[in-house]
Symmetry: C2
Subunit: 256 residues, 2 copies
DNA sequence: ATGCAGGGTTGACGCAGCGTCAAGGTCAAG
DNA sequence: CTTGACCTTGACGCTGCGTCAACCCTGCAT
């Protein structure tokens, strides 16, 4: 007659596991001796070996009982089920590994790699880290808003960075974002001038009328809100832009 | 300002998950409106996208916070850690699949395949299902007692099945095990005769003195106990054997 | 005004498979 | 008699939410 720890040691499981199997009803409760200790016979060893064999093979405990009673056909059917569950789980984990490998490369947490290189270009033309970070968050939001459509926008955005006006704009913005300039800093006026000028050009080139869905409206609203949450002084800039005939931020439109 | 379900829908997670992230401290609790509803700004969208990106990549939530704050070096180090954890988990599951594939083939739950074919031979020489089942459980116990040493014993055991005396013994035992013969059935005497005779032969051939360790003693005790638990009438057989000068069951020794 | 559907709120249990205290009672040896 | 090793039951912890429960808020149709 074995005690619980002897049984556990013999079959290579923990005492806690044995009690757990009792609790699950997988292993019948044995008789108790005079002091209330569990006393196990040889059949318990055999049962426990079977249980831990199935459990070690990845069979959920909830299905072990059925499998122990199953005939050959039902058994191999169950084996098939378990195996395909294991395969699914493995596949999920493999996917995770791929995703995490994507993350490993640099700047692109939650972003396609095209955006990462766009952000690198921004740095090259003199944008400050804080501005790049703000852009990055904007593109994260954009990527969530239009999944799969961000990568194709990047070539155009990179191209635009060759525009000296835009370079000037980003540098000026970087200065302001890194300073504690207040609302009457004259550089804000300069920024507004540049933006108004660029808006005029875009409008003239017919680059400004994009049909938008309701979902798009929300997305643009969020982008605008993100900008202001990140940098409240943008509100002042928006006022200056309105004085120059332009409303909006992420997407601008001419005032009546 | 978004409600919680709008935020959740926008980022592709469930409302419950968002609240869970609040609870974990991953996502800061936003301000409440007049009626106590959570109201989210655009930054929350960005934060949530980052969180679900890491989570979807298999990063444990407990480590997400650190990774969001980490610099490039710490980040890629963390990625390495996560990845190796994922690899380990995948390996465990692959092992499970191998184990379960082993189980798939027939008779060998918790037994090496050599034993399965030995059991098949037993059936062929006329052993009943119940006897085979009892043998099977015995070998499960043996396999747990001497892991890795069972396979090498099988050729000898199969060989022994060519002994007509042993065949007779198994057939007789099968009859008795399937009947409700009581202790004074004459076939018990015949069984005892055969077993005593075979013991004499084994003894004469010097096949009976195996050095045993303490662990072995326990194993043999368990095997004996298993036999009696499975078939109490074996006790009567043991008495008859003792009358013929032999003690024990799984392992027999001559009485003084 | 009212009622109802469809939000929102906190709180708590459930799952899988045990690990790990807690707070004792028991046993064997010195 | 003490001590240390084992036994008992009971209950929380872990992971990442899903799923009630019980109740409050809001906006729209009647």
């Amino acid at each position: 007659m074995l005690t619980i720890s002897q049984l556990a040691a013999y079959t290579g499981v923990t005492v806690r596991a044995v009690r757990h199997y009792h609790h699950m009803g997988l292993l019948p409760e044995p008789q108790r001796d005079a002091s209330g200790y569990r006393r196990y016979g040889a059949k318990a060893v055999v049962s426990l070996v079977k249980i831990r064999t199935l459990a070690a093979a990845g069979v959920p405990l909830s299905q072990v009982a059925q499998m122990l009673e199953a005939d050959a056909a039902a058994f191999s059917e169950a084996v098939q089920r378990i195996d395909s569950q294991l395969r699914e789980e493995i596949e999920r984990l493999e996917d995770s590994r791929k995703q995490i490998a994507q993350l490993a490369a640099g700047d692109n947490l939650a972003l396609p790699p095209e955006v990462a290189s766009y952000l690198d270009r921004l740095r090259q033309i003199g944008a400050s880290e804080r501005l790049v970070e703000a852009e990055r968050e904007g593109w994260i939001l954009a990527a969530a808003s239009w999944p799969g459509h961000i990568a194709e926008m990047m070539p155009g955005k990179v191209e635009q960075l060759n525009n000296p006006q835009l370079v000037r704009l980003y540098r000026l913005a970087s200065q302001l974002i890194d300073s504690n300039a207040n609302d009457d800093d004259p550089r804000l006026e300069e920024l507004a001038d540049i933006m108004a000028s660029m808006a005029e050009q875009a409008d003239a080139n017919g680059e400004m009328n994009i049909a938008t869905t309701a979902h798009d409206e929300l997305a643009f609203d969020l982008l605008d809100a993100l900008a202001i949450e990140s940098e409240p002084r943008i509100q002042r800039l928006q006022n200056l832009l309105r004085e120059r005939g332009w409303a909006g931020w992420t997407r601008q439109r001419r005032l009546a």
